[in-house]
Symmetry: D2
Subunit: 187 residues, 4 copies
């Protein structure tokens, strides 16, 4: 995994998704080199970069041009630009214009999570996976409810990570904000 500090950042853009969460999202996604991935709300591009290393093709979508700029810089830094198409667009509309895909990541949904999941589901290949990372109480519930509505079985995992800072006086535990990962697979 890439360390959080190795990503180019911008304090106005959320991310990068923390190392341990990127790791868990990768595991839940079961990504392989055959997969096409769509990353909605790519922000800094942390997940985009990780998936670009392992998938066949990634579409990184954000409606904020500043976010796309940072994502592009990170893709260049890690020499992954050829595998990624950076798309300046809003979801769910953008989904109509994309080819079918195997993995849908939703990190930011600007209040349209339900529509994104429903539109995304239409373009999702058989056995495809959807993974939502949520920092808001409300998106967790919306993700679960929408997946159920689509006849899918949601898997919900709340992750709380604390990292130890090695000080002279000892190992001080510092918490990261909890993230809930809601994932499912098209049957």
């Amino acid at each position: 995994m890439i360390k959080d500090n190795d990503f180019i950042k911008d304090h106005d853009i959320p991310g990068p998704t923390k190392e341990e969460i990127r790791c868990l999202v990768l595991c839940k996604s079961q990504v392989t080199e055959k997969d096409t991935v769509v990353d909605i709300g790519c922000g800094t591009g942390g997940l985009t970069v990780e998936f670009a290393r392992r998938a066949g093709k990634v579409y990184a979508v954000d409606k904020n041009p500043e976010a796309l700029k940072i994502t592009r810089l990170n893709l260049e830094k890690f020499q992954l630009s050829p595998k990624v198409e950076v798309v300046d667009a809003s979801a769910p509309q953008v989904l109509e214009d994309l080819p079918e895909f195997d993995i849908l990541l939703v990190g930011g949904s600007s209040g349209k999570l339900s529509q994104i999941l429903k539109e995304g589901y239409k373009k999702l290949n058989d056995d495809g996976r959807i993974i939502v990372t949520s920092i808001l109480l409300e998106t967790r519930v919306e993700a679960v409810a929408t997946m159920k509505e689509l006849g899918l079985i949601p898997e919900v995992v709340e992750v709380s990570i604390s990292r130890g800072r090695i000080l002279e006086s000892g190992t001080m535990m510092t918490a990261q904000n909890p993230i809930t990962i809601i994932s499912t697979q098209k049957i």
Copy 2:
């Protein structure tokens, strides 16, 4: 409980102990108005103030004069100065000079936790309680080991608290650093 933001703070002084942790320490202490309390490493005075409201007498000890200054300001703010003696001294030495007490709080121990617990135990009344709040991996283990060595039964509780920030987009959960509370009672 007093809200965290209602305490006078200084960015060089640790504290105040967060509201929920103060609450749990109070519960574990079983404090009553008959109790004499010693607060070692009082920092901002968060716990000192809470115990001063409920106990008979509190000794607030810190070796940092700046911490004692902030503690004094908070005691004045909450009109609790008469119940508290603020002591500019180092532990464990200071314990020799204090009268016997019912509750020993150790929030900061500057690497001398084991000695503080052993000396404190000598001055602890029957049925007295000791409560250590720990942010370092190492102090948790030292507290447990020393209590066992003294023939006491340690109770260990790790507390992770996230608070919701009410934003327009929803309720964002933000984590506080985990705290471990190690407590015991003299039998």
Copy 3:
């Protein structure tokens, strides 16, 4: 605080609310001996007992007669029966029949949380507090949304507690299920 194991239990009845959560609910409630408390979904009676020790009067409500039986046994055990009226009824309907109160606790809502909060709010005295304890993702969001709808400011605290089991090999941390406490005060 009463230890979890000191309550009479029944494996069909939820509870008792764990010691640390009872402690935090008490703190958030700012309970005093002048307060009248309504506990909706009292289950085993853990919170009922704690509030009966500190409040003027408690109404313990559950629609499950078995739960009320266990609550009564615990009230007898802790000699608190005179301060508590045990009410065999469903919420929100029951709220109409109760006198006005200062603290509304909602531990179980059987899918009617929003109605309970709205009806409860009508009977809540000025400066009264409402505290919801939630184990379901959905009730957290419903509590926050309903409080906002009522013009109240919700405070959301997610609590994760692990307790150390003192084994010969060391101190093993065992997790309790996370609880979210949503509280508010009538302004």
Copy 4:
């Protein structure tokens, strides 16, 4: 990742390491197909199986023959037996008899963590990784202290996972016991 329930289990044998922890250990290990892995205290074989899928060779060590039996059954189930040597032996002694390796996993240490890390370090190839998973307060501290003593920089991550159970009434969060992962790399 393999689901927890897909492993053959035995209630006397610890494990399998939960899915999310296996995932994080894999990420921290940076395992590739060129790596030789030693898994000390393999228990049910959860990590052994995951590493056997990704590494060149795995040595699964346990001093409990029953654990090794379960590990063998899981290796057969996942058709990974050819890549794994199951070793009935005690650590740290066994380390002397093994060839050099790239990744040392320590899940169970029977009170000999410090010696295992020191002996293991001698057989660790350049750029090799050590990963300790700890459920005891004491092993966390021992791992950090021993890594420091060896001139290594420990990375400490405490992981608390709750999983949502999809019930009719909603999504109930149930906690797994917290695990601390202490990892380092030979420089």
